[in-house]
């Protein structure tokens, strides 16, 4: 489904269904340099289970046009515009990595419009190494390589995908390579500069679920303690053996975890 916001196309994957105001809605937000396709399995699942699913492409990503947004609050405000256009008053918001910060900001700022928050592969704050930022800024392929290699657990560097025949390293690289020049830098910089996450977490009123990979090297579990303490009694699911790219590395375990709150 395509919408127009401020003269730009906004793409939302909806499992080829119209939005039904009688159904609960779930918004899925991808991570840096990615697009809606990372959420295909989960979106298909929750669509069959009676939900409106909206897997968005952030501006400048995937099938959405326009310049990428510079910071997390701007992305959350943009998401509100998207939901206005879709006539969705209340939704659950599920985000991965960068998307988890957008979901967090949205849940705090637009509390009345959020019924549940799920942060997948997350940490707050989310500092990005200067090496990755520099490579992103230079549109250097090394940025894709670093994010792919550190994004997968060491074990999954060698595969073991539950989706038959799909090579996770190649799949992640191709998604990054499809991103427009500069987009990844905008995204990573937005993650790096978002400093109000813990305060926003304290303001979140809806049920919260954190889904973390035990082998995540980009947003390690041990670093999520301040975030867990900032929320009011969040649910935490740690998926053993998975790294940061949970949708690819552990799609079934992720689905089971999402069912704890959705």
């Amino acid at each position: 489904m395509k919408l127009a916001i401020e003269n730009n196309d906004v793409y939302c994957y909806t499992n080829s269904r119209d939005i039904d105001p009688a159904k609960p809605s779930i918004v899925f937000i991808h991570g840096s340099g990615m697009d809606h396709t990372v959420w295909t399995l989960a979106a298909r699942h929750f669509a069959r289970h009676g939900n409106n699913v909206i897997a968005i492409d952030l501006p400048g990503h995937g099938r959405s046009t326009g310049a990428p947004l510079e910071n997390i609050p701007a992305m959350a405000d943009w998401l509100e515009q998207v939901l206005d256009a879709l006539k969705i008053d209340v939704s659950a918001v599920v985000g991965h990595s960068l998307g988890s910060l957008v979901a967090l900001e949205f849940s705090a700022k637009y509390a009345a419009r959020t019924r549940a928050l799920v942060m997948v592969g997350t940490i707050v704050p989310m500092p990005v190494s200067s090496a990755i930022l520099a490579a992103c800024k230079n549109n250097d392929h090394a940025a894709f390589d670093m994010l792919t290699q550190y994004g997968l657990s060491k074990r999954h560097q060698f595969g073991g995908n539950r989706s038959s025949g799909i090579w996770m390293v190649g799949s992640a690289l191709r998604l990054y390579e499809r991103s427009q020049p500069g987009v990844l830098y905008y995204d990573m910089n937005a993650c790096n500069e978002y400093q109000s996450g813990l305060e926003q977490a304290a303001a979140v009123e809806c049920p919260v679920l954190l889904v973390l990979g035990s082998e995540d090297r980009l947003t390690p579990v041990r670093g999520t303690r301040p975030l867990q303490e900032a929320f009011h009694q969040p649910e935490v699911s740690v998926i053993q053996g998975a790294g940061h790219t949970l949708m690819m590395e552990a799609p079934n375990a992720l689905l089971d975890a999402l069912h704890r709150i959705l």
């Binding site: 697009d35 069959r48 290699q149 595969g159 190649g170 799949s171 191709r174």
Partner: protein, 439 residues
């Protein structure tokens, strides 16, 4: 922070896609010889059928042993995914059926494996898919043959049996300029000698019967998706970019992005045409892949020795190996295939057809059969066997003469191979001597 090196080819060949079996701890990949797989409950079953969860339903569609092989080949080729098929022919057919239907057109190199030529020249026209064959060495010939209804450019990395080296970067550029994917058959080269995706190819097929399995014990194929071709931008592939009624209006490019092609090939092609690989076959191929690097290295070294011997022999009028001085593809081979140009090549004997027959019949160590890429050295006379359906003109277009001999060099001690060839050449020499007397 800097990116660690990706695992090397020899490491991936041993480890990619596999882990110790979670149920038993078995280190070797088990053979999951099961037609189907149990569902824990009805909703789980529904979620597998509807592509919500990852897992196995029925071994025609996917199988845990095959999945390890598929992931390993995708890793070695640096693709997004792969499918194991019943044969190399099944891989080629699966690719074509995924991309096009009746009324479509293919541009293919004239120098092709005889089985591929049969499919394109004789069988597919019956289904409304026509092919124009062009000189594999002429990228502009590919461009000139493209029509409005062309949907695929197809060639071998090195042609069978003349080893015409495909200029992958130039032919890929021609294809992409026309909004078309380039598919290459890399059976002769394997990912050890060339990684076609790095040079611009979009889809790779293998007959895994050959060097990948390496021991001549199974029939199998592999289809690999590079994940870089933009099907939406091309606008010529409705099977990938428009709703598919056969799967609840799924749009493959929308839902699977870079993996659209390989996912459609599995969800439709394996499902409907059914040319899947047996898990036992996948297990055998995996054993071969584990030693791909060291085997290919030895194959190539042995080949270089045999080529050098034949090239200096007075009874040999031509040796078609691209590393040789004066070969039309020498410079291209040096650029694209620095580790070697495969271990299959052809040569022409003085004395033509009769000398060729005498040569083949006199060999002991070389096995006379229709295959290549075995650990054992092989020999065949293409004009009377693999390419027997082609007339003289078609043979010539493929670089084959009536007296051409094709060798597939194995892993034996090279001195023994050369001794056997000397024996064959002595027999051929007697034919030449008789021909001289008759004159």
């Amino acid at each position: 922070m800097s990116a660690p090196d990706y695992p090397g080819l020899d490491t991936l060949a041993l480890h990619a896609g596999s882990q110790p079996d979670p149920a038993t701890g078995a280190r070797a990949t088990p053979i999951y010889q099961s037609a189907s797989f149990c569902f824990p409950d009805s909703d789980y079953a529904a979620s597998l059928f509807n592509i919500e969860r990852a897992g196995h339903v029925y071994s025609r569609l996917s199988n845990p042993t095959n999945a390890v092989l598929e992931e390993r080949i995708a890793a070695l080729e640096d693709g997004v995914g792969a499918i194991a098929t019943a044969s190399g022919q099944a891989a080629l057919t699966l690719a074509i059926m995924t991309l096009m239907g009746a009324g479509s057109h293919i541009v293919a190199a004239a120098a092709l494996y005889g089985g591929s030529h049969n499919l394109l020249a004789y069988t597919l026209p019956r289904l409304g898919i026509e092919t124009t064959f062009v000189d594999a060495r002429d990228p502009q010939a590919f461009a000139a043959a493209i029509q409005d209804n062309t949907r695929l450019i197809f060639a071998e990395t090195v042609g069978n049996p003349g080893l015409d080296v495909l200029n992958i970067p130039k032919v890929a550029a021609v294809a992409h300029e026309a909004g078309l994917p380039l598919m290459v058959d890399s059976t002769f080269t394997t990912p050890y000698l060339i990684k076609p995706f790095e040079h611009g190819a979009d889809i790779i097929m293998h007959s895994a019967t050959k060097f990948l399995s390496g021991h001549g014990i199974v029939i199998g194929g592999l289809l690999v998706d590079g994940g870089r071709f933009d099907w939406d931008a091309s606008g010529k592939f409705p099977t990938l970019t428009e709703p598919y009624e056969g799967f609840h209006n799924l749009v493959f490019s929308e839902e699977f992005g870079p993996a659209a092609f390989i996912q459609r090939a599995r969800k439709e092609g394996l499902r409907d045409f059914g040319a899947c690989m047996s898990p036992t076959t996948a297990f055998h191929i995996l054993q071969g892949v584990e030693t791909l690097g060291i085997r290919m290295n030895r194959h190539v070294e042995n080949t270089r020795g045999v080529v050098e011997f034949l090239n200096q022999h007075e009874q040999v009028s031509r040796v078609g190996y691209p590393e040789l001085e004066g070969h039309p593809d020498q410079a291209l081979a040096s650029a694209l295939l620095p580790k070697g140009c495969s271990a299959v090549f052809s040569f022409d004997l003085v004395g033509g057809r009769e000398a060729g027959i005498a040569f083949v019949d006199a060999l002991n160590l070389f096995s006379h059969l229709a295959n290549v890429g075995d650990a054992k050295s092989l020999v065949i006379h293409p004009a009377s066997t693999t390419h027997h359906r082609m007339d003289a003109a078609a043979l010539a277009a493929g670089g084959i003469g009536e007296g051409t001999i094709r060798l597939s060099i194995g892993l034996e001690d090279p001195k023994d191979l050369i001794a056997d060839l000397k024996q064959g050449l002595r027999a051929a020499g007697k034919i030449v001597a008789k021909q001289a007397v008759a004159l």
